[in-house]
Symmetry: C3
Subunit: 277 residues, 3 copies
Amino acid sequence: VKRPFIALITDFGEDDYFVASLKGVILRINPGARIIDVTHQVPSFDIRQGSFTLFSCYKYFPPRTIFLVIIDPGVGSSRPILLVKTKKYFFVAPDNGVLSLTLKSEEVEQIIKITNKKFFLEKQSKTFEGRDKMAPVAAWLSKGTSPLLFGPPVQDYKALDKLEPIRKEREIIGSIIYADKFGNLITNIPRTMVNKLKKEAGKSKLTLLTKNKKISSFRESYSQGRRGELFYLVGSLGFIEIATREASASRKIKAKVSDTVKIVIRSPREKVIAKEK
Amino acid sequence: VKRPFIALITDFGEDDYFVASLKGVILRINPGARIIDVTHQVPSFDIRQGSFTLFSCYKYFPPRTIFLVIIDPGVGSSRPILLVKTKKYFFVAPDNGVLSLTLKSEEVEQIIKITNKKFFLEKQSKTFEGRDKMAPVAAWLSKGTSPLLFGPPVQDYKALDKLEPIRKEREIIGSIIYADKFGNLITNIPRTMVNKLKKEAGKSKLTLLTKNKKISSFRESYSQGRRGELFYLVGSLGFIEIATREASASRKIKAKVSDTVKIVIRSPREKVIAKEK
Amino acid sequence: VKRPFIALITDFGEDDYFVASLKGVILRINPGARIIDVTHQVPSFDIRQGSFTLFSCYKYFPPRTIFLVIIDPGVGSSRPILLVKTKKYFFVAPDNGVLSLTLKSEEVEQIIKITNKKFFLEKQSKTFEGRDKMAPVAAWLSKGTSPLLFGPPVQDYKALDKLEPIRKEREIIGSIIYADKFGNLITNIPRTMVNKLKKEAGKSKLTLLTKNKKISSFRESYSQGRRGELFYLVGSLGFIEIATREASASRKIKAKVSDTVKIVIRSPREKVIAKEK
């Protein structure tokens, strides 16, 4: 087995026969494959959340891992299925943008449009191409099959709109991109951007604003926060996170994905404004 | 390892110590075993749903896979535990009907009533025979132990009532047998039956009726449907499914397992009736 | 691979990138490691529930299994991370009491405070030490690295308050320590304690009291109970459990973890009291 690890990311849930079918198909073709479940709990049809989940963990996997990413609202349509080879990894996914966040951080070497029916299951449905086309391709790839055998090279892949924070004069305008199981709210604002703003602020301090809340406490870790207090910190992906100690910030401030988050340099006047509210 | 794959289907959920105990027991007996989780989310005690889950994916697994199927409301009672060998697979399960849907599609070679205590854990509870009896048997089986060593051959296994659709003059009367994570409603009506009815219909069209809804759109794939529209299609198991694009048909029409579904040949008069409603 | 099995218990859930990150880190360091998910559904920050989950299944795992137990509300603080070697197993966990219930039943051979940065990921966050420190240590340990190389030996680990039942004159006073997926309520009262009380009771019978309910039926297994009836039995861990047939006792009596449970010798007078209520 040359590329033994196949990592699965889907929106299939874990209740049905979907995930098991993928695994069965893979192991029938390559009994030596080692399958790792990343998650199957991506919200149904949510390409953006799936793309973030992939992005947030793929770097930690062994080189040559094959990521099989099936969030595929267009199943059965003419949207292509891609195999992308980067310097370190392989990705098999529908061409709907789910890979774009990750591929921007990787050195892309080859993009193949998967078309060679030889590698598909004999009977094919129009509603489960994950099982009938993508899983077998991942399995053959894990056995060492050359990417070029699966179909013709293509030039590009579909990209999602960028969700990058905007840097303005005395502030950063970003948004919430993910709420985790603990209710921590992950923003798209990288630590580095905040560090720069902090430098410019000199003696003034920074404040995070979201959902009519003004969050001034910056903490190093969750356990440094006081109970009941909202604070922000640098999360494990290097992005600013809003959190509260041993409770759900998401529930506390009723924020959700795509809500706006600003980080601003606090002016002396600002305190007064805060009181007026 | 002669039969390395052990696939687990249970109603244990994933929160408790149940599944981990099965895995520990298996790996202590056969460290070379490779365990695949089919699902542990079968609704508690729901033999019929468990039987469908097994049926819907087992064919995709490698030959000689051992399916350990534990939906077992009768645990601790005198209901037998069976080991069934078919031409391609092995099944270990309580004899309560959970295997019947699958075994009807398989060539059964041997049915063994598991009784040989030599293969059970030393300490046995009356409430977790999955851990104390079935998991060890599956593990020993995976090491190559002959089925006959686990107990005496028996003639039969318990079968669930058949849930097959009825073919009438100008219609098929079936029912919903499964609602998946996306809210697609899977019926027991096979594609082949509908194709036949379609032929007989000649120039008339077919309509699906359920829960006071008349569904006339037939689509090839989910993404072919218009948003908001209810339609039916052939699902990935070859059965008719009711769906709606990127949303839950189950929620939309408040249908559930065992609700009746008819597919009828539409008569010219029918349109009038539809309008009168 | 000398210690191939790494068993994971966390409160991370299965929706996010947390568990996948642990697995990626482990497999990048030791591609031969075999990872087993015990559960990731421990309630957030709930050290006591996590400690019970570990305790309830660890004995069934193969010798030399490494348990990576991450319920870690103190992440990023100065709380130590421990590696504990017992006669049969290894445990890697924050020193917050999550191991204590298990270690009391094991022969502890070595307690190491993990400090050697050589084994950590290069970039370290303050919010995900499971990924950055504990997972790599477990992976190196699985490759055969000697425990002493991870840091200095220490004398002790943090222990949770004991939750043992109290034996009084004619009764046992215990509590509910776990509610499983089926709604069975597991108490901390061991079978042996009840057997002793039963002996002392002579001709009198025992009754279980909780939440204003008097439960007199004792059953051998779930399926022995009558539908709708509350009963108690000896569960698969050897503790007294409150259950009801094919339904949730937890929902039925609205009991939850830490509610008091008494088992008393029924006196003739008691029947009268029951009627007066």
